[in-house]
Symmetry: C2
Subunit: 245 residues, 2 copies
Amino acid sequence: MKIKITLGYDGTDYCGWQVQPNGVTVQELLEKAVFMVTGESVRVTGSGRTDAGVHASGQVAHFSVEKTSIPPEKFAKALNAHLPSDIRVFSGEQVDQSFNACTSAKRKTYCYNLYLSEIENPLKQRYSTTVHGDVDLDLMKKGAELFVGEHDFACFNASGSGAKTTVRTIYSIDIEKDGKELRVKVTGNGFLYNMVRTLCGTLLALSQGEKSLQDIENMLINGDRTLCGRTLPAKGLCLESVEYD
Amino acid sequence: MKIKITLGYDGTDYCGWQVQPNGVTVQELLEKAVFMVTGESVRVTGSGRTDAGVHASGQVAHFSVEKTSIPPEKFAKALNAHLPSDIRVFSGEQVDQSFNACTSAKRKTYCYNLYLSEIENPLKQRYSTTVHGDVDLDLMKKGAELFVGEHDFACFNASGSGAKTTVRTIYSIDIEKDGKELRVKVTGNGFLYNMVRTLCGTLLALSQGEKSLQDIENMLINGDRTLCGRTLPAKGLCLESVEYD
């Protein structure tokens, strides 16, 4: 039986999604929880890896179990009983054997949260990155438009990422400002390693006059990483949703 | 020279505002920071004590220094250099000797944050209390109206609080719902120990059918604490602002 789960986590205290030798990961704790609930050692496959410190409010994962007395819709509650409170499974359902949380994913939405202030706000800093001073919202939106569509995002490709192709499609980039809070919501068919954090860093550099609209056009043509802005910190990033057909 | 500062803190890791023998408090760290900056051992007086785990986005405090080379408006930055990142001073200014952050306060606004869901959200739990299921917003608003005005709030008076009078004026209670998030914003001329948390617990009990509007009327007449709802957890409470003439 194949189970699809939707979950959220505060990534602050985790070394990201993927099981690794040094440090606790979300995947590892989910696999332990499945074992506690079913007695089976399984691989829990996520829609994608999130980096150390990145949060999720709508990550999706799947796993297969041989036999279990637990109805699929009861898996959320059963797993949560064996997970720390900074990881919560919101829902579970049985899916067709052909479903794969990673390869079946059609669209993902990430949100990058910025806090615009000279002084950090202790109540915001866990889930956002503080930027000193205001931003040029119109200019950021113009820059964002240039990224929308199908492009070769080689400029955002971290060395050694091993991605087969660097062509991705960004469906939309919505930038919303609410007082001192700025949210950049990016929806695409997939993202390269660090791509959203570097894309947002580039929009910020554009707003701050360090990069130009021409630089963005050039980086998409040349794949030149040196034209990009800095990669923003992990804590401002949240995987909001993953969509499937 | 008397300095007034406005500050915020994530109360999660603190034993509240007031200096105490066991555990680290916000007041203690501020006093240490003032010493680091000025070399003077001073008392930092807050607008009021916040309990262990309660947050603040607009706490106000004052202290007096004999002599300092630091202009008042530079105190925020100077103090922040000696404070942990979960406490930030937002601003500082010189005030008249007659100013007292505690006794001069005219109005305080607290916000209690509830998250309405069967399953906790890891990204919300640090600053809110999860309530299973929905609430009856209209009924909560009707209950809130009964608390507004000048009343003897003896029903909310914790034993041994030592308050001289239990008469307080609540100017407004605004309840806002935004998706799963419910914010109860209470403005008054002052609050008894645990008053906002118990008041919100009472509105919740009303919504859940455990208390009636008549119970609220009775508790305000009789001062009967047993008619109140439970005192909600500290982590959902935030001191938002303190106003002075």
